[in-house]
Amino acid sequence: MVFSSLTFLFGFLPLTLAVYFLTPLKWRNLTLLIVSLLFYGWGEPVYILIMFASIAIDYVHGLLVEKHRHDDKKARWFVVQSVIFNLLLLGFFKYWDFFAVNLSLIPGVNLPVLGLGLPIGISFFTFQTMSYTIDVYRQDAPAQRNIVTFGTFVTMFPQLIAGPIVKYKTVAAELDHREHTTENFALGARRFCVGLAKKVLLANSIGSLWDSALAAQSAGTLTVLGGWLGLIAFTFQIYFDFSGYSDMAIGLGRIFGFTFDENFNYPYLAASVSDFWRRWHISLTSWFREYLYIPLGGNRGGVGKTLRNIFIVWLCTGFWHGASWNYLLWGLYFAVLLVLEKYVLSNVLKKLPRMVKHLYTLFAVVVGWGLFAMEDLRQCGSYLATCFGGGNGWSGSDFYTLKSYGVLLVILVVASTTLGKSLWQRLPERPQKIAAPVLMALALVVCTAYLVDGSYNPFLYFRF
């Protein structure tokens, strides 16, 4: 189930809220666990079993790590076991087919392609549970003795399927004691509405422009202008889709009394690629920094080791996004850019005017999305070739596209900046207080219209 669906908004969510707040405080984790399992099992009921296995194994390992606290070798071994279990889980369900297809290219090797459906959110929850045993080992958080509470952490539906990746230590205290205030509820609900509007009104709407660019490419009618419009559309689509989803997660978390860290910080305002990665999907970058880059030695072992670590981390980051070569390429692309910025461009970038730095960053990011968006490398290559001059400059239909999406594009540009926020903060308190619920109601109504329209499926060719 996704948040931006009628089933969630007008079925699951109101029922869950009712049950949760009617449950006595003591039992609320159990309630949250049960509804989260229902949420998870909704699309693929059988995969609930993976959830149970994951909870049980990581729960036990947390306790084992704590028990052997004084025998570091043993404690480490249990951490390694838990990490291996999670990576195997992820590896099997997400990457098996990729390896099977590619390794079978080697003569003599013949691995079957299984075509298993990817369990939803597996990339997120395996990373969260890995953070748990590591946090316990590092004594950043105590082991969780209550399996219901631990299960609640693993399955918590607000961030289960698309993050943010919540580290155990961030919510450890709140899992046991958290405050349910009406203020938290109101602020959470408001945040949820912002996220819903970003996802449904902005991301989904601009997504159709990207789709039509792809269609033009396969029909062979893509132009240079059309190609860039498509890439820009995807750039907006992925940001508003993902950050909208994070907003909804953070808002829902807040309703239930949890404080999740922010996941985005106006990434398209970044002044360099490294700045971009401090602002984009923060929970993932910080996860890799904390649990991979720094343990590998970070930048403390000289240039050679730093380079190695950067490349390892970014290949992993790329591969985490999907089991396909283009994601690896995408990770590599950013590794190269980050290394260049670190060792070559840093002095040049400092001297450049702000505007140029922003343009350079946006250009690098947009081209990066081109690598990210097309899994078929041949298609990806020919699309990007068109963008860089391998096609007609423009066509009449590009201007039709511009006219149809012009207003939306302007809205998207503005929404990517802090302009809206600073205008909002400049508003005196009273109008702000009136405007907020009005905008919330408006967002809910309009989003509902878009969602119902999405399910609207006239069968008109029944009679030609």
Partner: protein, 373 residues
Amino acid sequence: MTKAYSRAVTALFCAFLGGMLLWSLLLPDRAHSDVENRTLAQWPAFSWEALTSGKFTDGVEDYLADQFPLRDGWTGLKARMEQAIGKTEFHGVYLCGDTLISKVETPDETLAEKNLGYVSALADKTDLPVYLGLIPSAAEIWSDKLPAGAESWDQRAYLQAAGQTNLPQINFFGALSAHADEDIFYRTDHHWTTRGAYYGYTAVMDALGRGDAILPESDFSRETVSDSFQGTLYSSSGIHTLRPDTMEFWAPDTGLTVTSWRSGSAAEESLYDRNYLDKKDKYSAFLGGNQPLCVIKNENIPDGGKLLVVRDSYSDSLAPFLAQSFSEVHLLDLRYYHASAAQYAEENGIDAIAVIYSVPNFVTDQNVVFLGQ
């Protein structure tokens, strides 16, 4: 935030979500949507198998979406929002001033080509003359009304390809484009109007070499039967703000015997089924809508010849005109009639066969293959 204010915001949020949930629970389930012209999903039957396979939960999602309160109102609201930000295409329909025009997508080229081949195959099978009549849709005839730069597949190029076959052609393109400034297509439906069908009739008569027998427009007494027709494009676009279409009957229903085979057995019917005029699907008032086979006999013109029309729904409104000039018009719909058309023509003493389709239907229809048998 003060406590009272927080409470108000919380209440607003819960009231909207919970309110819509309650409303959709209390609202009686609908079996059918007239606007969408389809049956709506009902609550799915529960079984363990359905649950584990995910079918049950999918069914619940479909149910909730289909039974959502005020479905048509929400779609209308979305269309208005899109209109407000400068969109002119709505679910594959262009809004062109006060007219809706359906976009024609680029079809599967092999199917489009094959379908022409099947008509030629029919001509090879029979000694009767086989005419090919492809009716360009509004997107072609009214292409100047489309928003600047808006794409629609080139139907004219396809008509030229059709002309390359050895089949004699019915020149609908010429007949319609000569009257492009008249109301020849509905503004909210993808069919031609009765006036459009009349020009279509003149094209058929010309092609069959009976141009001198064309009944002039003045011979018909035009009757406005509805001024509240909101057609298929009204439904699929979600644009609900346009003035409804007017529907007319021109040809008289007298002196004809209309026999319909709707469910295997013959039934006496008439050119028009006025019951449909009170429903959403008003276009079905012509001949009473879809049927495998319909035969119209006109005893007043015993030597008018017998015409077999292999057709789509455009012929529902064309048939009343043809019935005035032929002693027998046989209408055969390949979606429901899969036996040999050549054999049918032979058994019924047909004089000429006309394959008449609108271009968008012809290039996507999977049933044209039955002509070749």
